[in-house]
Every structure is written in C-alpha cells, then in structure tokens.
Subunit: 305 residues, 2 copies
C-alpha cells in the first residue's frame, strides 16, 4: 500500500477537507429513533451490551454516510466500544469497515503503549492483516510515547506497509500539563518528545515529503503548536480540541506547513450530536455540522496555501 | 467491596506468596496437545481467530489451575487477546472469570490512558459492573500517566469500590529511559511521576495502611526502586522483569516495605512456558515453575519481615 502520509495528503487535496470526525458514541446521546428501533434495555439487564452495540453501530453508520462527503477520515475511539465488551469490538471493526467503504480513512484512537511482545501484539491487532481484526480496516493509530522507542518499534515497522501513527505529544485536556510541561533542560517535556518522534520517524517519509509518523498536538496554546511544528517540519499533526472542546479554527494556523499541508483536525461531539436540541432529520443535522466544520477549517487552511 | 490494597495484602499473607503470573499467550508457544485438540488452522485462514482464541483459553485455564496454589494473582495482558479481535476479548473475560473462581486476583494489564469521557468509558469497561464486560471479573488495571490527573480520575474513583490501579512509573524495557529518565529539576522524570501518583492516591489508603493506587516499577536498577519507594511509602508496587526478563529475586529487597509488605512480582514467560523443551505433563511443569518462583520470592520477602 502507498505511504500513509501520501494517502492522507492526497485525500485532503481531493476532498478539500482536513476534517476528521471523531466517533465517540455515548449511548444516552443517540437519536431517540435509533434507540427505539433497536430497543435497548436498561443498563445491566441481560442483552444490554449486544443491543447497545447494535444501536451504536446503526447510529455510526448513519453518521459516516452523512459526513463522508465532508470529512477526510473518521477517528473511532476504542474506549467507547470496549465499554460494550466483545460485541463492542465487533462493532468497532464493522464501523471502521463501513467508513473505509465510504472512502474515509480510519484512524483508530486507541492510545496504546506497551513493551516488547505486547507492543507487537497490539500492532498486529490494530495495523496487521489478520481477518476479523481491526488491522485490515484501519489506516492509522494513536500511541502513547511514555515507554520509549522500543514500545513503538512494531508500529513504526507498519509504516512500511502503508499505515500511519499519531504519537501523543501535547494533549488538550486540563491535566495534560502535569507531565507534558515539566521542564527538561529549560524546555517543556513535550518538545523533547516531539524531537524523539522526529528521530524515530526519519526513515518513513512519503513521496510528497510528509511523514506518516505523526503526532497529536492539542489546540491549547498557539505558541505550543508553532514550537512543535518547528521540531517536526514534515510530520502529520492530528489536532483535537476543535469544536466542542473549545478551540476555534483561527487558532489553527500555526499547525500547518506552508502550502496548507500536514494537518488534520478532529471534531467529535459538535458533529456527532449536532441534532441535539433540534427537530428534523438527525442525519441532515450531522451532515450540515460536518459541512460547516469543513468550510471553517478550509478558510484557515487556504490562508496557508 | 473491601479496599483492594487490603484484599491484596491479605491474599499475600494467606498464600505466603507475592507471585503474579503474567498471562502473555503466544499461540506458537502453546503445548502441541492443546493446539492439536482445538485444531487451529494456518493464520489468515477462515476461522483462525476463533480457533486461536479457543486454544488460548484452553491453555490459560490449565495454567490458572496449575498456578492457583502458588500465585496471588494473574495479570492477563490485553494486547495478546485483542490480537484475536472480538473473540479475543471474550477469551480475556472468560480467562479472568476462571482465575477469579480459582481464588486469584485479576490485574488487567491494559496500560490505558485517555482523557475525559474516554477515560470514563475505559474505567467502566475494565473496572465497572456491566455484565459481559471485564469489569465484574477484574480487580485492578495498569495505567499510563502521560495525560495527567484528569485522565486517571475515573479510575481513581473506582478505588472507592474496591478496585486497584498500577500506574506506570519506571518500566523495565531498554527504551524505558528515553522519556522516564529525562532530568527534571535535577532528578529523573519517573520520580516526579511517582510523587504525582502519591498525591493522586492520597484519599484511598486501606485499613492496613497500604494504598490501592499502586505503581509499576521495573527491576532494572536497585537504586531506582529505593528512590521510588521513598516517594511512595504506602503504595503497592507491581514489579515486572523477574524471571525471563532477567532480574533475580535478590535484587527485589529494596522494593518491599518493612514487614515484607507492599509488593507483587510478575513472572510471565518463565512460568507460562516452563514445559518448553521438556517432556511430561505441561501442567505439572507450569505448576512446578510457579512453586519455585514463589519460594524464590518468599526468601526475599521473609528477609524483610
């Protein structure tokens, strides 16, 4: 398969969109008609997990169909699926497969990080080729760097097969600073991590010059984005924190490489639950929110072209 | 449920054992008779994941029965189960349930770390009460601290319901030093993390004075263990790296609190595959390896009593 950085870059250009829709399904927030169609019993009742996963799958397939013209990728969040046990994992795989069929890239937000043989098992599970696992329908995965290079090596190796990585550098949650901003040699830890990512990824550059060993950098403070970009001039950035989490599109400019390249921006709840509090067709509300987000982001991206 | 630190401490005293058996099942290393009984097809063939998970479950139930008299807990490693997709998650739950029935505590080695609603979903998935998920059969989980306090809060809350945590502080892999030993204010990062863990866990102390908000500290260098113990005088330590990974029991003394308390030591491959290269009953070889490991560790633990 072609290098992930080239695939993602080409998809962005083709769709004129750097929007990623995060799939964070919370059962209580699903449209009433979806819950009614599946008939989900009260939590803890027999069959709850199967019905909850079924309703989640029905909802997310509708979301995917609605956002496919406007987004470049979806980012299913593994925790929300694991919540339903084994049937949740089947749901995650089916939803990822549906997204791939609709022409969307799939970034599995699993934030894994483990050592040796375990890291290899996770890499096979999420980016491998075994039927009935996530591997064949997943294009990229999010990873945690705390355990160092050897914990990432089995995933890095998958970049040679067309897969991509987004390694956590600076996250957008309030406590993200607890460890990530500790000062090391007069600079914050996350910049050291960014530099390490640059070293780990140096063999995987795509034909277009972008790197599939990417990073997650939250839209928390604009100066931080510029500092990380300086360390990683070629890496793809996955930027959460846009939309419901509070960041505005205008703050995203420092993330982009000249030419409006190298960035995808995630929005989860503000797209997923756009129907909330409104009447009418929920699918139309989701599609409209994705379309608006795309336009909003294109205004920033095109200012960098 | 009683505080996890009290439950674990009492189990150690009752069994005179601080041995945890890590369940890291690698299909290729299973006993030939197990593979033959299940009839596992070649990888990639239809039905491979289901048969592979089935053989893994059969093997691990035998392991659990063999080690139950000698170990205080098992530590199933989520990555090796996720490798088989959804059926692997069912296998993980069934194996955990079997261990609980055999009187073993279950530490799910998942190394999760995520933010906000996702962290809550993972906490529900692994330590919650939903039938058909891992929660009801899991006593404790391993976690990654890189995202800071709010990423751990939903798990910390579960400590009030009798569950326990082991937060990664200093891991035993060669690249563990990449980030964990970066110098912050003249001391290594992992000591800062240890101090944060102490702060996060201060409300959860058990009746016996031990803390269920524990840490993972590898047996890499003896001085490191003593330094972390100084920061966390009451926390349970989960110590990997004993046995196949290279550390010897005599190096473990600095981990213990006076009285031989506060430590569980993990051994995976040297117990799990003890039959490798030997004839005879594989179950007997596993039992004997667990018994030897227990005695080896008791010699150190009793020197601290």
């Amino acid at each position: 398969m072609q290098n992930f950085a080239d695939r993602l870059d080409q998809a962005i250009e083709k769709k004129s969109s750097c929007l990623v829709v995060g799939l964070d399904p919370v059962l209580e927030r699903l449209p009433g008609e979806v819950l009614a169609e599946v008939g989900v019993p009260a939590q803890g009742e027999p069959g709850w997990t199967a019905r909850a996963a079924s309703a989640t799958g029905l909802f997310l397939r509708g979301v995917i169909d609605s956002v496919a013209p406007h987004a470049v990728a979806v980012k299913p969040n593994a925790g929300f699926f694991e919540r339903f046990g084994a049937v949740g994992m089947d749901c995650l795989r089916e939803v990822s497969e549906h997204a791939a069929k609709q022409g969307l890239l799939v970034i599995c937000d699993a934030k894994r990080g483990d050592i040796g043989h375990t890291a290899a098992a996770y890499a096979e599970s999420i980016l491998g080729e075994t039927p009935d696992t996530l591997g064949p329908v997943t294009d990229a995965v999010t990873l945690n760097p705390y355990l160092g290079e050897d914990s990432l090596r089995p995933f890095l190796d998958k970049c040679s097969t067309g897969k991509g990585l987004f390694i956590l550098v600076r996250t957008s949650n309030p406590s993200g600073s607890d460890i990530q901003e500790l000062q090391v040699d007069g600079e914050p830890l996350y910049l050291k991590v960014a530099r390490l990512v640059g070293k780990w990824g140096e063999d995987f550059r795509g034909e277009g010059g972008l790197n599939p060993v990417g990073v997650v950098v939250g839209a928390t403070a604009p100066g931080q984005a510029a500092a990380v970009r300086k360390e990683l001039p070629e890496a793809f950035f996955l930027v959460p924190g846009y939309g419901a989490q509070g960041g505005g599109a205008e703050e995203l400019a420092p993330f982009f490489i000249e030419g409006g390249k190298g960035v995808v921006v995630n929005s989860s709840r503000s797209v997923l639950y756009a129907f909330d509090g409104h009447g009418g067709d929920w699918r139309a509300a989701v599609a409209e929110a994705a379309s608006r987000a795309r336009e909003d982001l294109e205004a920033v991206r095109s200012s960098r072209v």
